[in-house]
């Protein structure tokens, strides 16, 4: 397996504050995957995204893109990296320069990366990208950002990323500022891009339900450290780390057979900077033990497709090379749902 992007013990600190603790992972180039990075605000997921995008350099450790260290890349190599690793940002309002029509954000990369040799070719590429994300070029091009809805703007941004035919898209909370009814559509489009265009996607989110629906693997971060990682089915279906369990049980499902639970949540938020060298979750953990305060737990692989950094599982083998990707599961090889393949537009035949 050749790695598309690799983080080797990458960490980021700002003075005394650790935004991201040593993390080692790699995403395969051969099998484009969809990986979720989940956690609450302040957990380090955005820092991780920015490190992967090359916007910030890690304080420790290395980031390798296709085998090359991003920090020491030459100009040309860096340009290629820039092109092949593209972001989709959270805020669909701020990503457009209000001075220009939305075309600007699509014509600029075509020009700067030399994607077309003539205006006509450029226009064709842009229209194709827009259609791919479900937008009608004639209704979208020529408009100013404020003339489009939040959902449309976000789709233009996805089209922009697609235009460049990147190898990796880092989507940082791409739908949290979009209406519920449009979220599903946009996420489905991301999944289609992954399948049809072989683009790996890292989906940064705080919403575990969408992560479950579209991703193969998930990493749950807590205050800069990995709490749990593995296949989405395993981690979300049967969370082992106390923090993951807390997260999953706090999801408000529109399913009345799964009530939220009436138990009092104490310590819903971390109460201050982490004290001591132990597990970061110790102060809030209902299963905390003596050893949790003194040293951080290792990554215990409880199953072949999951690890939890919690002393509760210290009997399980610890990850030797600390590469959390070893518990990631390979992407879905199943075709799309049979009902869709048959052309039936009703996704829930069993509901009636």
């Amino acid at each position: 397996m050749s790695a598309l992007i690799e983080l080797q013990r990458a960490a980021k600190t700002y003075g005394a504050f650790t935004a991201l603790d040593d993390i080692t992972l790699s995403l395969s180039e051969d099998a484009p995957s969809m990986t979720a990075v989940a956690g609450e605000s302040g957990c380090g997921k955005t820092t991780l995204a920015r490190i992967m995008l090359g916007f910030i350099d890690p304080s420790r450790g290395k980031v390798l893109y296709r085998g090359q260290n991003v920090a020491t890349m030459s100009g040309a190599e860096r340009r290629q990296f820039r092109r092949e690793v593209q972001p989709v940002f959270q805020d669909p309002f701020d990503v457009f320069n209000p001075f220009y029509r939305i075309d600007h954000v699509l014509t600029t990369p075509v020009r700067r990366y030399g994607l077309a040799h003539s205006d006509a070719e450029a226009r064709k590429l842009i229209e194709e990208a827009l259609s791919r994300v479900g937008l009608r070029p004639q209704d979208t091009l020529g408009r100013f950002p404020h003339e489009l809805s939040g959902g449309q703007r976000q789709r233009v941004m996805v089209a922009r990323a697609v235009l460049l035919r990147p190898k990796l898209i880092i989507a940082d909370e791409p739908v949290s500022m979009v209406d519920a009814s449009l979220r599903a559509t946009i996420l489905d489009e991301l999944k289609t891009l992954n399948r049809d265009l072989d683009i790996s996607i890292v989906y940064i989110t705080h919403d575990l339900t969408t992560a479950f629906q579209i991703c193969d693997s998930i990493v749950i971060l807590y205050r800069g450290a990995v709490a749990e990682a593995g296949s989405v089915e395993r981690v979300i279906g049967d969370p082992k780390h106390p923090y993951s369990q807390l997260l999953v049980s706090s999801i408000p499902l529109p399913d009345l057979s799964k009530p939220w639970g009436g138990e009092e949540i104490r310590n819903a938020e971390p109460s201050g900077p982490t004290r001591g060298a132990g597990c970061k979750f110790a102060e809030r953990c209902p299963h905390v033990m003596e050893m949790c305060w003194t040293s951080p737990p290792a990554e215990y692989t409880t199953e072949s497709d999951r690890l939890a950094t919690c002393f509760l599982y210290r009997d399980a083998p610890a990850l030797k090379d600390k590469n959390i990707s070893s518990v990631f599961r390979p992407p879905d090889t199943k075709p799309r749902l049979a009902s869709e393949a048959a052309g039936n537009t009703n996704p829930h035949p069993e509901r009636y």
């Binding site: 995008l53 916007f55 340009r79 820039r82 092109r83 593209q86 972001p87 940002f89 805020d91 701020d94 990503v95 457009f96 320069n97 209000p98 001075f99 220009y100 954000v105 600029t108 990369p109 700067r112 990366y113 100013f144 950002p145 404020h146 941004m157 922009r160």
Partner: protein, 287 residues
């Protein structure tokens, strides 16, 4: 929502207020007088000894004459454009410099920013008039162009700070990051992404700079440090002071220049306020 998107919609949504229209009208009127006025008067009447001195306003001399035998109306018509010219030169240079320094400081940060900021801040605290007096006093043959340059040299600082602050803010916007991943280089980002969003601030700074430049120029002229040989509004006031026109009741000598100066400032001020409402719709929609 940004200022510029609003600029384009301002006309449609009638955010051009009465204030803005009035301000621009006043300025337009003054410019018109400067441009068309000379067609109606004989330039010769503004030279010393051309006409009967000390005459109050009459049918022959609409604004009277001064004690040196110059027709006031002619003086006004030739003096106003000179004063305006100085203000505009100082305005363009001042804002031009301010823009360049502001962009450099805001965009590059580090030592460049530190140097520019320290110099700008230091000069801001110095009373400009004092510096100008020293400079003006040491120039041999003062002309209106030199005056303009002298004033311009000290009118860039505020624009620099304004532009710098805006650049720092805009740099953090997501669309700048998007520009980066779209392959734009640092300079391209500066000129294609950041600059266009600075236009409202540039216009506002320009109006302000022209205003304060005219004020500075008139101040210097009233002290006798201006281009004495040229016809300007400030010089007219200077001569009127020299001839004790106030004591002697020659109100038509010092009055009209002051009225024109006041009108220029009124026009600039109203334009500035009106433009603010134009560029920032939140102000115009007071509940």
């Amino acid at each position: 929502m940004s200022a510029f998107a609003n600029l384009r919609r301002g006309l449609a949504e009638r955010r051009i207020s009465g204030t803005l229209i009035l301000g621009l009208s006043i300025l337009l009127l003054i410019v018109l007088i400067s441009v068309i006025g000379p067609l109606f008067v004989d330039a010769h009447n503004a030279t010393v000894g051309a006409v009967t001195p000390r005459r109050p306003p009459s049918a022959q001399f609409f604004l009277g004459t001064d004690s040196q035998g110059r027709d006031m109306l002619t003086l006004l018509i030739y003096g106003t454009p000179n004063t305006l010219k100085m203000g505009l030169i100082a305005g363009f240079i001042g804002v031009g410099l301010g823009l360049v320094f502001g962009l450099l400081a805001g965009n590059f940060g580090g030592i460049v920013d530190a140097v520019i900021r320290i110099i700008a801040d230091a000069l801001l605290t110095v009373p400009a008039i004092a510096i100008l007096v020293i400079i003006a006093g040491n120039v041999d043959r003062m002309t209106t162009n030199i005056m303009a340059l002298v004033v311009a040299s000290l009118s860039w600082m505020f624009t620099t700070r304004t532009i710098r602050a805006q650049v720092l803010t805009i740099r953090e916007r997501s669309y700048v990051e998007v520009a980066r991943v779209n392959g734009e280089g640092a300079l391209e980002i500066l000129f294609r992404e950041i600059m266009p969003n600075l236009l409202p601030f540039i216009v506002a700074s320009f109006v302000g700079t022209v205003g304060s430049a005219i004020l500075a120029v008139i101040g210097l002229e009233a002290l006798g440090l201006g281009a004495i040989e040229e016809t300007t509004l400030g010089n007219t006031i200077y001569w009127s002071q020299q001839s004790a026109a106030v004591l002697r009741g020659y109100w038509w000598w010092w009055g009209p220049p002051i009225v024109v100066i006041a009108l220029i400032f009124l026009g600039l001020f109203l334009t500035s306020v009106g433009f603010d409402r134009f560029a920032n719709p939140k102000l115009s929609r007071r509940a």
